[in-house]
Symmetry: C2
Subunit: 177 residues, 2 copies
């Protein structure tokens, strides 16, 4: 048995899962700790047993999401000429499997809590540098500009999903015959 043998209801993870969904749906401020607790099936103060503050809970959710994104990108193997496309697919896949987290990440910069902005800043910076590094290593010319386009496209996809405006990403739209 591993030292930390978690059994059936791992409360902390349940709380993280519920919080991820709620934060993504309702945003930081409209997501109350009471709602998170209710979604898990515990009482509101119990949430504070695992996370000292609501902000700490949010940061934990955000961290997990960013980690998943970094991991998804790191798993992409591809010849240089298809790298950008393949990383795009990886992003889309994650958007399918962990929609909440991805949309949360792409909006996290709009939350005016200093600590959250700081976290968002650091994570975006890391992701940007990682992608640029991979593009550069693949011999892609203008790696920086391509990375910016890649990230900008990610932001646009998130926008189109949040606002339910599929027209914003025409390359995914059914072509007019």
């Amino acid at each position: 048995m591993s030292p930390k043998d978690d059994q059936a209801p791992n409360r902390k993870e349940q709380i993280l899962d519920a919080a991820a969904q709620l934060f993504a749906e309702l945003g930081y401020y409209k997501t109350t700790t009471a709602l998170v607790a209710k979604a898990v099936g515990v009482t509101q103060p119990y949430v504070f047993h695992f996370f000292k503050t609501k902000e700490e809970l949010f940061l934990a959710v955000l961290d997990r999401g960013f980690d998943r994104l970094v991991y998804a990108f790191s798993g992409v193997e591809s010849p240089p000429d298809e790298l950008a496309d393949r990383m795009g697919y990886a992003f889309d896949e994650l958007l399918g499997t962990h929609r909440n987290e991805i949309l949360l990440i792409m909006q996290s910069h709009a939350i005016p809590e200093p600590a959250i902005r700081q976290a968002s800043k650091e994570k975006f910076s890391i992701i940007y540098r990682r992608i640029r590094e991979r593009f550069a290593n693949a011999g892609i010319p203008d790696a920086s500009a391509q990375t910016s386009m890649f990230v900008g496209t990610g932001l646009l996809i998130a926008l189109s999903q949040v606002l339910e405006l599929p027209e914003l990403i025409p390359w995914c739209e059914p072509e007019a015959d």
Copy 2:
């Protein structure tokens, strides 16, 4: 005298101005009507004399911002091959003169109030269609894809400003010698 005869302290506009700045800096939820009132130099309940609710005030601010953006784009005259660049400059200029409003617009989709999302959706849709129309009329191939890139770049610029990450827009960065 014109029907709408505003004299010295045009409270409604002062409130809109103060609200724009505060909403952009602090976001929708951390901006209180008391802060807006204080910035103008009136009392908190008086704000409700001009706007029935805080949400209505926000929507008014947002509308004004979107209008300014649309107007800025509409004022761009350019030969087809420079159109996209010129519109980019127009965006940058507006970012210089009305930074608050622009950043507010580019984050408005992250505010989970249904009415605000709806407004954001409608305005983004209009702007997208207008730009695409202009690109298409200028004979730009792949007008839709170019428009998406244009909007995506706008989102990226806003992100880089909000997070203070200039590296995200390398074409504005001082080149390493």
